[in-house]
Symmetry: C2
Subunit: 374 residues, 2 copies
C-alpha cells in the first residue's frame, strides 16, 4: 500500500508528517509518496523526505496513486473525487460542522477518518490532535502576548528602579490554558486562572497560578473533561468576576470553548473599556466567535490602547514542532488501521469506529450518524 | 525653572519621562510642561501627566518656554535654535558620532548633556541609560527569537512524543547578552554563551548557561567592562568556534559591540549556510554594522530557511517599561544638576563633567574635546 502526504493549503504551514514520521511509516512496510514542497513551510525539504525512502511526486500523482492520504486541512471535493475508489482519506476535516463534505463523502462511498473525532479516552490520548495542538496554542498565545505587551513579564530589581511582574489572567484551564499559564509562569508573570471545572483548580494550583473561584458551576462527567454550558445566573457572576480581575490585568488569554457550539462570551465590552491602556487580550476562541465581545477573528484591534488579538490558525505558527506532534498522533492512530503493511479496518475498536466519518456509504461515528439523520 | 518633555520622533515609542517620574520632578520644586501626546505611544495620556501637576502644551511652547529639555532622540538643529539661550538640553544624542550636532551646540554656546556619555562607574550606574536599555534589548531579543522559531523553547514530554529543548547561542554576555540568556533559560531552552571577557564567564555560569571558551582574548580593565578589539588570530579562532556551535543551534542572539567602532563580525556567511533550516539569528548589533555578515539593519531576511533579524530600535518595542527605566535614570542624573528647584552645574563632579557635551562654548567631556580638536 502507498500512503500519500499532500502539501497543505497556502495558509497552513504545518504538514501531516515530517520526514521522521515518514521513516517510521516506511519501516512498517508501506510505501510513501510526498507532494513536492509539502514540508517546505515546516522547514523539511524534498531531500529530507527522499532520504527516508519516500518518493517525491506532483500533487495529481499523489492524489491518484495513494491508497491512503494523510492531511490536516480538508481537501476540496474535486480533489477527493480524483482519489482511488477504495483509498482512505484522513485529515482534520471538521466533519461534524461540514455537512456538505460529509454528505459528499457518504455519496461517494469514501472511507474517511477525521482526527478531531478521536474519542476522549486514555487509550486514544496519544492520537488526540486537539490536545497536542492545544499545547502549541497555549504556548504561542503567551509568547504573542509577551511580545505585544509594552512591559516586561518578569520582575526586575535594577539600578534604574524596580519593575513589577506582569499580571496575566487565563480564562479556561484546559490543555491550552494550562500551557499558557505554564509559559507565563516561566517568563516570571503573576498568573490568575479561571475555569468552570473544579478539576481544573488543582491543576492550576499545581503549576503555581492562583485560581479564581466562582461558585455554582454546572459540570458533566460525560463531557469527556470538556466544559459544558452554564446557567444564565452563573454566567453573569462569572462575567462580573472576570470584569473585576481584568482591570488589574496586563494580559488576558481566553481559551474557553465548548465543542460544537459558539464560544462563551466571558469578557464583555465594558470590561475591555475598564482595562488599562497597554494591556493585551489574546482570544484563542476567535474562530468560534470569541470569548471577548469585541474580538475579530484573524485581526488585532485596538480599543483605547487595549489590543485584542483574535488569533487564526496559531498552530501553524509553530510549524516544525506542531507537525512533529501531528505526525506522532498520526502514527499512533495508523497503528490501529495498518497491519502488516496493508489497510485493516477493525470497526470493533472504539477508536477506529469513533474517528471514522463514513465507510462503504454508511456513517460510522455516532454523532455523524445523528447529524446525517437530521 | 521649567522642565520640558517633548514628544519623540514618529519611530520612537518611548518618552523620556512617564507621569510617575514627572511627579517626582515636580516634588523637587520644578515646573514641568509636556508636549501634548508625548506619552501616547508609551500608553500615558495627557490627563495622566496633568494629574501630576504638569502643564500640557504645544511643541513650540515647550521648546521656547523650558529652562531644561529632557528627551531621548536628538533634536533637529532648527528646534535647538528655538530654545532659550541658557536652557539646558538633555538627550541620548550620540554626540561623539554626530560632529555636525556637536559643532552646532558649541557654536550656539548651548549647554547640552548626552546620556550615553555617563561614565561607567559604580556611582553613575543608576543613571546609565545604555545599561537599562540593554536589559530591555536582551529580553526582547529572546522573545523575538522565540516568537519566530518554528519550534518550542521548552522540553515537553507529551502523549504525542517528546520535544527536545531549543538550543540557544548568545554571543556577547554584557547586560543585553545576560538578559537574553536569562530569558531563554526561563523559557526552558538550553543556552550556550560566548564572550571575550573572562569576567563574563562567571556571570554566564551563575545563570545556568554553558560558557564557550576561546583562549587568548585581549582584555583591558580601562575599557570600563566593555570588550576591546582582538587580534586577527584570536578573531579567526573565535569565528571557527562559533561556526561549529552554530550548526547545532536553533537560535543565535548576537550582542557584541565595541563602543564607537563597527561591531565585530562573528557569524560568517559560511556559518549561516551551515545552520539548520528554521533557525533564527537575532542581531542586536545590526545598527552598528551587525555581528553577522548577512545582517541587514531594520530588516528580516531569509537565507535558505535561516532567518536573520537585524533589529532596529528594539527598546521602543517595550515602550512602557523602557520609558519607566529611562525616567528613573534621568531623575538620578537630574539630582546632580538641579538644586533647590534651580539648575546648578557643578563641573567638579565627574559624572556632570563626563556627561556634558558642551557649556558656554567649550566642550566638556574629554572625548568630545578630542573629537573637536581633530
Amino acid at each position: 500500500m502507498k500512503v500519500g502526504i499532500l502539501k497543505e493549503p497556502k495558509d497552513e504551514a504545518r504538514v501531516a508528517m515530517l520526514p521522521e514520521a515518514v521513516k517510521t511509516l516506511i519501516s512498517w512496510g508501506t510505501e510513501v509518496c510526498v507532494e513536492s514542497g509539502a514540508g517546505q513551510s515546516a522547514y523539511a525539504d524534498d531531500d529530507a523526505y527522499r532520504s527516508t525512502g519516500a518518493e517525491i511526486k506532483q500533487r495529481a500523482e499523489v492524489l491518484t496513486e495513494s491508497d491512503m492520504i494523510c492531511g490536516i486541512q480538508a481537501l476540496p471535493l474535486e480533489e477527493i473525487s480524483k482519489m482511488k475508489p477504495d483509498a482512505v482519506l484522513l485529515g482534520q476535516m471538521g466533519a461534524l460542522f461540514n455537512p456538505e463534505l460529509t454528505k459528499f463523502l457518504l455519496e461517494q462511498k469514501r472511507t474517511a477518518f477525521s482526527m478531531e473525532l478521536v474519542p476522549r479516552t486514555t487509550r486514544a490520548q496519544s492520537m488526540d490532535v486537539l490536545s497536542s495542538m492545544a499545547t502549541v496554542l497555549g504556548y504561542k498565545a503567551t509568547l504573542l502576548a509577551a511580545n505585544s505587551l509594552p512591559r516586561f513579564f518578569p520582575m526586575f530589581m535594577t539600578a534604574a528602579g524596580s519593575i513589577t511582574p506582569a499580571r496575566v489572567l487565563v480564562i479556561g484551564a484546559g490543555v491550552a490554558g494550562l500551557q499558557a499559564i505554564a509559559t507565563a509562569k516561566r517568563l516570571g508573570a503573576t498568573v490568575f486562572a479561571f475555569d468552570v471545572r473544579q478539576a481544573a483548580k488543582e491543576e492550576v494550583l499545581s503549576i503555581g497560578a492562583k485560581f479564581i473561584d466562582v461558585a455554582g458551576a454546572t459540570e458533566d462527567k460525560a463531557a469527556g473533561g470538556y466544559a459544558v454550558e452554564q446557567s444564565a445566573d452563573f454566567i453573569q457572576r462569572q462575567k462580573d468576576t472576570i470584569h473585576e480581575h481584568a482591570q488589574k490585568a496586563d494580559i488576558i488569554i481566553t481559551t474557553a470553548q465548548i465543542p460544537g457550539r459558539k464560544a462563551p462570551l466571558l469578557v464583555e465590552e465594558r470590561t475591555v473599556h475598564a482595562m488599562k491602556a497597554g494591556s493585551v487580550i489574546v482570544d484563542l476562541a476567535a474562530s468560534s466567535g470569541g470569548n471577548c465581545a469585541l474580538t475579530q477573528a484573524d485581526q488585532t484591534i485596538n480599543i483605547n490602547g487595549v489590543r485584542i488579538i483574535g488569533v487564526g490558525n496559531l498552530a501553524a505558527e509553530l510549524p516544525q514542532d506542531a507537525s512533529k506532534m501531528y505526525g506522532k498522533n498520526y502514527l499512533n492512530f495508523l497503528k490501529l488501521i495498518i497491519k502488516d503493511g496493508a489497510i485493516n479496518l477493525n470497526f470493533e475498536d472504539d477508536i477506529v469506529l469513533g474517528t471514522c466519518v463514513c465507510h462503504a456509504g454508511e456513517p460510522k461515528n455516532s454523532r455523524i450518524a445523528e447529524m446525517i439523520k437530521q
